[in-house]
Symmetry: D2
Subunit: 303 residues, 4 copies
């Protein structure tokens, strides 16, 4: 496969979509991003990476970090996490409290905010430092030792974090957090604030295409576990649009309100696309269109 040719064609195809949608507004640090950015990268299972557009420009990973958090907890703790978080699609907007109440403080899945707070809490208990553990992992996999938190973004998330504080206190009221609420929130916000490029993220996610093997050949997840992370990404990875994403793109994916999306073609490669304009459900307009066109050109949906 000539990835460069495919990416060039994808970039040309989605050009009219770039700038459409709405850049995330809920924190100033994200609202200032140029809506007209677009980048895309493919990292294959041999670690070769190809890109187009703004593929080396860092952006805020936001909820994409949730996929790495889940993998790190599964790697250390196995299936035990499923006692504290479900793995069903939420059927509701990503920060809904309704389902959480209805299900007694057990979040529907690890990719809604409530679920990611539980995963962060567990990762913190397992490692003593959830956010640094994740940063170290992302540096190692991407081969980019410069990766860092963005303190301005983390502080801004915290300042506008009442909804997440509500979720965390709510679950604490059900006994579903082990660490103090402020600690969990802090590490959650730091994880979301990490700045990475499409190149970095595609490389960092390659273990999901390699059935669990890390960049250095060591095993993070068993083959079965890696498939399972992909399954959760496909059914729950794009907020309230997972069905539509599966329908249009047909790949496991995880999006973030920074405008990034990673997607996995098991056994072949991991993709990352970035464009800040979001649709009504919080996914990058040009990003989804790019992945849709990529699978159309290559025929590589999982279906």
């Amino acid at each position: 496969m000539d990835y460069q040719a495919v990416l060039d064609e994808v970039a040309a195809h989605v050009e009219p979509q770039i700038g459409r949608g709405q850049v995330a507004q809920y924190i100033p640090a994200l609202a200032e991003v140029d809506a007209h950015r677009f980048g895309m990268a493919v990292a294959d299972v041999d670690g070769r990476v190809t890109g187009v557009g703004d593929w080396e420009m860092p952006f805020s990973v936001q909820s994409i970090s949730k996929a790495f958090g889940l993998a790190l907890v599964l790697a250390q703790d196995g299936e035990k996490i499923w006692r504290r978080v479900g793995r069903e699609p939420s059927g509701n907007p990503f920060n809904s409290l309704v389902q959480l109440e209805y299900e007694n403080g057990i979040p529907r899945n690890p990719f809604i905010n409530a679920g990611a707070l539980v995963v962060t809490d567990r990762l913190h208990s397992l490692t003593g430092d959830a956010s640094t553990t994740m940063l170290d992992f992302l540096r190692a996999e991407s081969g980019n030792s410069e990766l860092a938190f963005d303190p301005a973004v983390a502080a801004s998330e915290s300042d506008h974090g009442d909804r997440n504080a509500a979720l965390a206190h709510f679950m604490a009221g059900y006994g579903n957090l082990d660490n103090p609420v402020p600690t969990v929130l802090e590490h959650y916000f730091w994880q979301c604030s990490i700045e990475m490029s499409c190149r970095d993220l595609a490389l960092a996610g390659t273990f999901l295409a390699r059935h669990g093997l890390r960049a250095d050949g060591s095993r993070l997840l068993s083959r079965r576990e890696a498939k399972r992370v992909n399954a959760v990404m496909l059914t729950c990875g794009t907020y309230d649009a997972a069905g539509d994403f599966a329908y249009r793109v047909g790949l496991p994916g995880k999006s973030g309100v920074g405008g990034g999306i990673i997607a996995v073609i098991p056994g072949r490669c991991t993709l990352c696309v970035w464009s800040p304009g979001l649709d009504a459900r919080g996914n990058s307009v040009a990003g989804v269109a790019a992945l849709d066109h990529f699978t159309t050109l290559t025929g590589w949906s999982v279906f």
Copy 2:
């Protein structure tokens, strides 16, 4: 009306109910209360007070404080509070987040916890010290200068306050709190922790029977406002059982999980009954039965 004779007959009638139900368990300070207590007091519009049983024994007022908080805010601020809190029955358990989310951070009424947090926030903005303002008012109306917060109860509420913290952060996320969340919570918990007897509470609530006039003859609420507080008590004052309370007792009332209930017979008197055993909806079993029998004996329901 020979109140003493009526109260004696009520006490005899409900004797089999005393001890039934479940003492509130969510904080240790409440769980230790003797379930077999029962007291009842009537304060008429002339300030005469009559009682039976443990009517002079202090207990934790808990949510009964919400009725006084609403009156104090209406007295200072008029109808403006209704922009920030509704006045419809909740149709859901008293601490539900569902309706709050459905209605964009506007609590259904001032007597569910979320609504009382908004009222506390407003009272704090108006007075600079919500909990002391309430304590001073209750001391003045009851004529009992010994009334005090119970620091152990307030601390215990705070320790077990994740659900209320979730509600407060949730509303803060919608911009419906003016003061910092910890400040609002602290004053809310202090208000709930006040210790009062049936005698104290019946006297303190007499302004509601006197169409807004305080014990010293000064006016707290207009006639119209006093009626309206009674209306909100009747439709929303007993958690998810307001319809049943209206059906059985037929009086405006406000209950608390400490086992107390105040009820108002407009133009005549204010009642307070206390017995710690609660029914499944958080209202005193013997307390509701006593009020039911009182209205049966006197014929004094509002209907």
Copy 3:
């Protein structure tokens, strides 16, 4: 009390409100009514009736019939009906299915459509003909033997009755209907279609002011039962606005989408007001304003 003077003043006061709001649109027969009609009547406990405006013009009683249905079932069957329908405010729009599902087919109260279907079902089982039983009762109480169903309205309700059919089938699925769904629906629609004037309705509802005594002096309901119907009207009688109605008007009341409202001043009189323009919650704009002003002028709220 000079009722004529009060009614004249009320009519003058609410004149600017007449024609405001929206005439019910869901069936053609209602949509054609002139929005500028206004009438009001008071029937005292001695059966004297006074009116103003269009008080002798018939209109479609719609949901006001629910209050009479409840009274007729209580009269024959006592408290047993409460096993099949609750008596708590709904906290949701009047035809919501959500709460019905949440509570396993037991409607929240007899004045939401689902609850009225259960009451109709029971009345039909008790009498063999629910709608004729109600018509006969209304004729007798109002002294107007000309009262009749409006077949066009009943047919129109049936043609647009999918939502009610859904409610009925839903409850049938839970075993909460004894008669076939089409039978229950038919009698429900016929009851709603009855045409009455303010004069007729005020007279027909006088038993609620007379503590259960009918126009001929015979007893329909015990004193206690009559109070209880009033309690349910106050907490549940005006759709999702019961709290607001209690706050503003302070009387037990039952409204219909035909624009009518009956209200009870226990021991004194029963009121009926009619004006077709509805607010967003289905209650007559001018009608609520008229009752509000009536209680302001007379001081006769129950609070």
Copy 4:
């Protein structure tokens, strides 16, 4: 791949699970099925079929018919159906009315009952006879001209069909059905009542593994459409357990309360498994276990 060997091993492996769970009880015709049945079949893209156990014994397809209904409508009508039904996981039990009300009569996806009623309605409008169209298609694809409706099952569904009648009337109230409610219900129940064996169903579903090509080589769906049906099956095909099914099995699948499940391995084969004991979410206990073991043995999950 030696399918016979794999199926034999699967059958041996799941033997302890057979008989577990609960046979569907809501209609007598299903409740009488022997819980200890187990059959499984694989039909590859060349039309070769292999089976184990009771793989040639007919059972009631029930909701498996929903997958064929969707394919038949997409084949004739393209993407227009998505204006009337969503394609997001429901996040709620399969027959919930809550989400339907919340979303104004648009069902979440075509595989919950409400969504299948809309698909049936559309298929009926397109063909003049929804149930016969489906039966003819299933006969042709399975090569079994004996396939038939089970009138006893269809009648029994109808007798116990109040919940589905409620759903249909509810959507009709929103204008989301073109045909009369009784017609739509009748064809829906007939479709569900079709009796097929694992052999029949595996063959009938082979077009989904063949990227849209029918058994006779003609095209039913475009390659893109076939992928999309698979995507909807993966995200929505197993009631409220789609996330768990993706996690454990990793294949597009559609289950029915008769105990059958079909699953698709794109480009390779279609599977059908049957065992009547259901888990709490309505999926065959032994069936899910068999598919789980099949993908473990073959490594053929889509992830």
